[in-house]
Structure formats: C-alpha cells, structure tokens
Amino acid sequence: MTLPAETETLARRAVEVAIAAGATYADARFVDLDEEHLAVRNGEVEGVGVSSSAGVGVRVLKHGCWGFAATGVPEPAQAEVAARLAVEVAESGQALQRSPVRLAGVEPVQDRWETALAEDPFAVPLEDKLDLLVRATRAMLGVPGASVATGGFHAWRRRSRFVSSEGTSVAQRIVHCGAGITATAVGEHEIQTRSYPNSFGGDFGAEGYELVRRLDLAGQAPRVAEEAVQLLDADPCPAQTTTLVLDGSQVSLQVHESIGHAIELDRVLGSEAAYAGTSFLTPHDRGRLRYGSPLLNVVADATTPGALGSFGYDDEGVAATCTPIVTGGVFRDFLSSRETAAAIGLDRSGATMRAQSWAHLPLIRMTNVSLLPGQAGSLDELLDGVDHGIYLETNRSWSIDDRRVDFQFGTEWGREIRHGRLGRVLRNGTYGGRTTSFWGSLDALGGPGLWKAWGLPNCGKGQPGQGSRVAHGAVPARFRDVQVGAG
C-alpha cells in the first residue's frame, strides 16, 4: 500500500488542533481518489476521462454538536484551518441543539487494509480496455434493428488515512471496477433497451480487471442486441395478479430499495426526512416485526470478498462486520453508526458510515445487504409448478415512496410462464406492491449456486448529495399473488 506517512501526521495534526480548540471528539480523514471512466458509443470512443482529488475532512464534536469542514489543499496549514472551522461550525449549531450527540464506544485500533486484486484495473492499458468496448458495441450494432450501442468501463481507487482523538489510525486502499453494455432499439412509439450484465452501467465489484474479463462483453453483445430488437414487437406484459419470478439482478434492486434503505437507522430516526425520506420501521420493531416469509434471510456483510460494499473499516474507524438483518422472516437489526447506535441503546456501531470523498460527512450507507440463498438448484426449479406466471429480468425503472413501503419496478425483459416453462417474450413489464406483504409472498429461492453479489455504483443519499457504491447478494426468487402490469 502506497500511502505516505505524512498523511498520518497531517490527519493527526488536524485532530490535535480541533481538540485544542475545544472539541471533545475529533477525527480527520485524508482521502486521495483516482477515477477512470471510459465510454464507447456505436463503435466509436465517446469519452476517456481520468480524475484525481485529494483533501482532508475534519469532523468534531463540541457541546454535543457536530461540525465538519474540509479542504482540497491537503497541507498542514490548510488542515489546521479546516480543523478550527469545524469547531466554529459545531459551535454555531449549539443554539439549535436539544439533545447532545453521544457515541457508541469503539476500541482504538491501528491497522491497514486493502482490496485483494488479481489484476489492477488502472494498470491495464487504456487501449485494451477501449478495444474491448469497441468490439462489443460494434457487435451489437451489427444486429439489424439495433439503433444505439453503448459500452462503459469505470474504475475507482481510494487511498485513505483515518485518525481519531480516541487513538484510532487506519490506512486503507480500496479499488472498485466494472463494466457493461447496452443496446437500444427504437420504434415509432417504443424504445427498448437491453443491458448486460445489468442496468446501472453493468456489474461492479471490489476486484481487479479479472471481473471485466469474466463478463465476456463481446461474446454476449449479439444476444443483448437481438433481445432489444425482439422487444420492439413483443406483446405488452398483461396486467394481472399472478406468480412472479425475478432474476437475481432485479431481486438485488428489490433488496436495495425495500430492505436496504428501510433499515438505515438515520432514516428511521428522521435525519434524512427532508431528502431521502424516512422508514416504516421503528426501533421497537427489532426482533418483533415480520418482514417477510420464513424463507427471507438477509445480512449486511461488509466482509464479503470481492463485493462492492466491502471494506476493512468504515469512515468512523469501526471494523467491518456482518450484521443479521432479517432472520427467518423476522426483522433483527438496523444499519447503524456510532451516534445512531447509541441513540437506541446499542453498545456498538454496525460499521456502515461512509463518505463519498474527503469533502463529505460520513453517512450510514448500505454495505453488502444480501439475501441469503435458498434451495432451488436452477431457474427451472423455480418455474416448476408455476401454471401461469410472469418472469421479469433486469431493472429498467424503480420508484418507492419516502417510507419505503409502496413500490413499483419496471424491467427490461419479460417472459410468460406457462406450465412450468418460459413462453412468449413480454415488453414493459412492471410489478408493484408493499414491502412486507411482498416479501411475505416469497415462496422459493435459488440455491447457493445461483447466488451472486450484484454491485450498484450509484446509490444516492444526503445533502449535499453523495454517491456510494454498494452491493447486494441475491438469487432468483419466486413470489405469489403479485400485481404485475405494463408500464
């Protein structure tokens, strides 16, 4: 790991200055970010972008109020200015503070952690990465009827040093990357897109370029384009209440929206009410609320190897952990921080606080909120016994109310299920429901061999808005009596 020792000195100095200015707690994060984004459209290179950003964010508590200040000039003098400004910010909120912030305890630690990589994505020549996307998009555009073909590659590297006034010092190097392709077919009144391996830009992980090589983008490209063209003339998904089978990627988004966000304890306690919303859950629901059928088992596991939401320590210096969220259908626990854990009487944070950059305050973010697998060994086993139903695959639209109860999702690809087999192709398939009743209708899950951690690179939250990269392990799943329709 290449992180200069001066970064620890810098962060430690910022913490010392904040404490000297009256803070009762302080932490400082030096973060150095590198990104690489490649875009190809219709066989032509559309964008090659690289970026870097480094800075220091200082977070303090004074009189029980938070203050945060950051500077993009990571030098001692500027870090000291940021530390003093953070204390001033905390002081200015005191008049509007009714209950002082308390923090759940954490054992001080000195450690370092880094993502395991087989092939550093930043070391792969740009020409090679672009060539892959060019070949894939040209293969899609070669399918008659395909109008637009895109491909993208994205990589992020985050080197950080966290130092707190409680004695913690952690250095981390986290690398993420991923890629994907889309084909779009345009009709007079219809526009249909197929994505591979998922929408939202593809699939992503805390892995090296080996993830991208496994995707076989060029090999999959013709099928992806053919399906987009096929959708233009497909029948619309009929509106009905029926048995619904979802592919793993759509299940992962269902988990994200109707479980992952609902269990964020800051939302539950009202901190996000003005923007992201609240939650139907209350602290009283731990161990009591039936979230879904007995088949529903969910964990928040930031230690999952290769998953996009994995790390060694969160941005409060708390070690990554695996927290049971739903066990046998019963709600067990929230995603928490040191502050929110203390607020509901927990003795330990769930280690979920992450910030987009040095310039952002850490927030509770999903890690890898994953659905545990069931028994079905194949998709055919899930379809077996379904006389009439609908199979839907790959998210196209997602919408849920501000308490994470009422949702409607649209998908790219649908198939009719008849007598246990996939039938005609259906377009514009949507389904809707209410969170606990929908998960209550879960009656079969794919087994361990179908389980995969799907990376989502674009989860938004907070003011100012922050993006976060998270993942959800999921399997194909079957639900009974779901309202399905055409969007």
Binding site: R41, V50, S51, A70, G72, T150, D406, Q463
Partner: protein
Amino acid sequence: MSAGALGADRLHAVLDAALGVSGADDVEAQVTRTWGGLTRFARSQVHQHVAGDDSIVAVRVVTGARIGVASTNDATARGAATAAARALAAARCSAPDPTYAGLAGPAPLPAVGRRYDDDTAGASPRRRAAAVADLLSRLLPGQEAAGAVATTASEVGLATTAGARLHTLTSGASASTVVMGHGASGHAEDAAVALADLHPGDVGQRAAATCAAAVDPGPAEPATYEVVLLPAAVTTLLQYLGATTVSAKAHAEGRSAFCGRLGTPVASPLVHVADDAVGDGALGAPFDPEGTPKQRVELIAGGTAAGLVHDRATAAAAGVDSTGHALAAPNPWGPLPRHLVMAPGDSSIDELVAGVERGLMVTRFWYTRTLNSKQTLVTGMTRDGTFRIDGGQRGPAVRNLRFNQSILEALASCDGVGDLLRVAVDGTSQTRAPALRLRSFRFTSVAGH
C-alpha cells in the same frame, strides 16, 4: 477582491499552464473553485453542519480528433499542466471522434443580471444557523422540521487554444424543508443569488401551513383525475421532460418524443417552456463547460414543440450553432437543459382550484422515474400534502398516490396556469415553474399508509 475569489488573472495563469501542453492540437481547460457551507437540520435541530472549499481543474485535450479528459483538484499551474499531460496521454490511447467539432473561440457573453453576492460568498456558519432558526420559528405547535440552508459561491475560469477566455463569479443561497406533525407533512423551498433575498421564514411558514392542512389523510381511489399541481410537482414534470425529450442528441438518435413532431402541437396552447440561463431570475454561470455563451431556447411555444438544446457536437451535426448546453466532458448524455422555466399565467392557486369540480391538488412528486422516454411516460408518488378538490374548493387531505402518466399528454390537457413562479435548485440545475391545472392525470394505486 470578493470574498474567497482569486480573480481572472490568477485563474487564467493556471489555465495557461494546461493550454501549453506540448503535442496537442487543441486544449480546453476550466478551473472551478467552490466554497461555502450547508446547515442541515432534522427533528428541528441542527445535525449535519458542514463547510468547505475545493477546486477542480478539468482539461480536454485533442490530438488528431482523438480526445482525452483529465481533472484534478490540484489547482496550481503544476497541477493543471499535469492534468493536461494525463489528458493528452488518454487522447493518444483513444480513437478519432467523428463528432468532434472544434473548440469554442472568443465570443461575447450575454448581459445577465446579478449573479454574485459578496455577503453570501462570505456567509458564516452562524448566518446559516440563524436562517434555520428563522425557518423553525414559523412552525406550529406539534410540528418538527427537517431540511437544509446552504450558501455557496463559485468562481469559474475557462480558456481554449481557440481563443476563448472567460471568467465568472456566482453565488447562491437556498432553503428547503419538510415540516412534519400529527402524521402529516408539508414541503417548501426557495433559492436566490443572495442570502439576503432568501426568505427562510416564508419557507417554514408555507411548509407548516401545508402540513397543518394535510392531517388525517383519507382514502382516495386510483383513477384519472382533474388536478391542480403546485409548482414543486410541475418542476418534477419539467425536469423529466427536459432529461428525455429536448436534447438534440436524444432527438438525433430517435429517442425523443419530439422526433417527427417539431413544429407541431404537443401540449396545450397555454404551455410555454424554455431553457433560460440568461434572463432575470436565472442562477449560475452564463457559459457552458465548452465555453459557449448560454442562449435562451424556446422548447415548447404556445403548445408547439419549438426547439432543442445543443452542444458543439450536436450543433455541428445539425448545421446550427451550439446553444450553450454542453455538460462537462466526458459527456455520454449529450446536451441537456439546466435552467428550465415555464411561463406563468394569470391565475391564482385559488382560481385554478375553483375550476375543478372533483379532483386532486398535489404539492409535490417523489421518486419519479421514466418508464418510456419516447412517450414521456413516468411514474412516481405524491408526497407532503395531497388534497381532494370538491366543488372548486380544496378539501381534506388524502393518502399519497402513485401515478403513471405521459408528461406531454398531461400538458396537452392543461387549461390553467398559475401566476407565480417558484424556483427549485438541484446542484447546478434550476427550474422555475408555476402551478398548473390539468384536466387529466392518471393515478394507479394508493399508498398503504
């Protein structure tokens, strides 16, 4: 010198270091300095209070029509030169871009009103906290509020090897809140160039009044209703229309609902929509990241599809001039409108409501997503105050509903436009919208709470 600003000469000295990179045909460089703070509150107390500053130097280098882009927050001449070298290296790995249309040259900027306020640029955390206190002071008994007050300033310098040399200073202040109490909620927001022109107390009062009126929501049947959409709800429809329909790139690729319909009626004759970053009331810089001065573009004029927004690539392909709607490179989305405005009408909210025998009034929408861009079909939920309208009067609150509705079809049924524009800001985008009365709006389900 203005609070925190460095001035054009110092910024251009940084940019010149990028423009001097050896081996490039064309270079475009922009430095953006931002500073300010945001005071976030929830449960009527400040809980996230931040301040900071940053700079970004973004360099686009072209060699043999191959393009590379690099950015850094090291806003020194050395940092800019390093970014330019990285951009050149990226360009050399790329392939010629057939859509490349050259860089912007010198051009006069449009005359715009006040865009910068020194007092706002230097606003302290205590000033923002005082604004929050003002907002909270308007709450009614039993109510709590969440929201944010922000003050920001930005200094932008841009230069190209084609001769463009631009500089601008902008500032902004905003307040938004959701007031909650007795099982109901209400929303309001405001934005201005200067903190002194922001009215956080009014924001708090409006949200509190909506919240008070929205208690004990009753059932509502999913159906197609006549509706009065308040400005925040109209803002959402305009934003999604702008994102899917009026980009020249979407139009050229056949993805836009305006394909084959430019010059034909697409909405009610009462509907006038433009993108206007230069007129009174607009916020932000008067040029885009390619250095093109921003133009006002009529998008829907008297219900007729009237125009598209362009960047340099789409403009060259169409044989027209860029309208100044480029996004920062690399940009796979093409040009987009960032300052949408719908022309106000002459009706008060009460007058709009008086024209509805049986319908709904919607404060705002939430989690809206596109279902079919070619049909401008979107879905979403109502939020923070949805009311029944009976006999031309606003009635009791109803539970939130989900809608599935074509935006253009909704605008085609417009028969009343409010006389007051409300402004909403989202990052560097700004939307100004009136209330609308629509004769047909399709709600497909009702929330279970």
